[in-house]
Symmetry: C2
Subunit: 259 residues, 2 copies
DNA sequence: GTGCCTATGTGTGTCGCCGTACAGAACCAC
DNA sequence: GTGGTTCTGTACGGCGACACACATAGGCAC
């Protein structure tokens, strides 16, 4: 359904001024992102940057012995990956598509150019970078103090905030890779959450049954990240209004706002 | 000794072009940073940004129940704190002086202004932000997979890379707060490291005895962060040379290069 | 329906760190 | 030197997660 396909499904692009948006539009290319697709590998050059619309991208770090852990998650509120604009040519992390969907991509060199010149675009990109940093920091804290139960709850909430619907297509095995724990630990944690009525599991699927309960299980960690993303959202809205567009039209039409 | 006091003891400031540096110079103010001094508190506004010369600043996150963990460390290779340039007015982390020393500070609004206008300064600041992100990500990985021994080794190396001399003035208690573990765990870990001959402990002091051994104890984590900071260093050097200054004069005169 | 593959559930022993408690040792002020 | 304070060393029970092993069950292909 072509009319529903628009770069404005990405909230950052939607927040751009009309001038910047129309300038960027011809440079964007719609791509399908199948789950499991590795968009950047550690040490390899970053050629394209991706603005997710309906997919979710996970930032993973892999240790020498092959163990993984998630260091961030990116949906239609941002883009992958900020490190291309800050630093070197090569990615220092592995970025994997967590949920099948679509994204608009742009050549890294082109966006880098726009980043240098466009004040407005730069503000949005940096504001997003900040939210991403907070997310990574919270993951660091979580890895130290929180139980697998709490981390799983947090992961589910963060993932589902970036998707329509309230069911996640993921196996315990895959969730284990994301959180850097064993499959069995996920099984046990998921059952605990299911006991409280927070979620409901099917083979290969995890669905939210009681969001409030799940948020309670996730603890403060999720709240902090969520607040940071709500601030980001406000920046997008104020950016859009500042440039004379109607935010409610923009958001109501294209997006499921977070929560 | 006034001649040794110079903003150029901060490597980022030293990497600026003469024009930018002389422009920034009158805005900078030398301040003494006593260990333990909290430069930003969570939720409070950021008024000044700090360019350390001889002190070390730690980025800490504190959970609801008062538990802490380090999410970054900043020495004379950068400044505190990047979040002021990216995001809101308030700090989302607590920044504490880990080692007594000096720093040059500048009003946040002034540097923000320079950040918008100055291409060169912006490049350096963003390059540093990238290195800091990598550091935070590595801490996240470390918190998941590494033992206290490894984390302590990594912490000592990162701290001493940012100081002259090879002894750190810190108690086990303080190190425990940084790593988010008990004091007793530090004691045990420090003794293990001492057994291998990597370090030597005195009451309130920890000294490197065998750097190579200590690096081996720290594992891949430290190597990755170190490589990232070496890239940052290269950026500084090439930035300085590009603007017609002699890097060796600059660095040999004022700094102890990393390692 | 049958068979097969994959996903999930459960159990046991081990390990690292925590919480708590307490003893000894280093250093400072006097 | 003496006393007091702070720092360091050691011990023990408990818990969460790991590694490994194996049983069961859901869903797809035929």
């Amino acid at each position: 359904m072509p009319p529903s396909q628009s770069p404005k499904q990405n909230r950052m692009l939607a927040a751009l001024s009309l001038a910047d948006y129309t300038h960027l539009l011809p440079l964007l290319e719609l791509v399908t992102m199948p789950a499991g697709y590795v968009i950047y590998e550690i040490g390899l050059p970053i050629r394209y940057l991706y603005f997710p619309t309906t997919c979710i991208v996970t930032r993973l770090y892999e240790t020498e012995n092959g163990a993984c852990t998630q260091i961030g998650i990116i949906g239609n509120e941002g883009f992958a990956d900020i490190s291309a604009l800050f630093g070197g040519e090569n990615s220092h992390a592995r970025l994997v598509v967590q949920n099948t969907g679509e994204a608009y991509r742009i050549k890294a060199s082109l966006l880098k150019n726009e980043f240098e010149k466009g004040v407005e675009l730069r503000h949005l990109l940096l504001r997003f970078a900040h939210a991403l940093m907070v997310q990574t920091e919270q993951i660091a804290v979580s890895n130290r103090y929180h139980t697998v139960d709490q981390q799983l709850a947090c992961f589910l909430l963060m993932s589902l905030d970036r998707l329509s619907g309230d069911e996640l297509h993921i196996t315990h095995e895959q969730a284990g890779i994301m959180l850097g724990v064993r499959r069995e630990s996920i099984t046990v944690a998921a059952n605990k959450l299911q006991m409280t009525g927070a979620i409901h599991c099917r083979r290969g699927h995890i669905a939210i049954a009681d969001r409030q309960q799940l948020e309670a299980s996730a603890g403060e960690n999720y709240q902090i990240v969520k607040e940071e993303y709500e601030l980001l959202q406000e920046t997008y809205v104020s950016s859009a209004t500042r440039f004379g567009r109607s935010p409610e039209k923009q958001f109501k039409r294209f997006f499921q706002p977070i929560e």
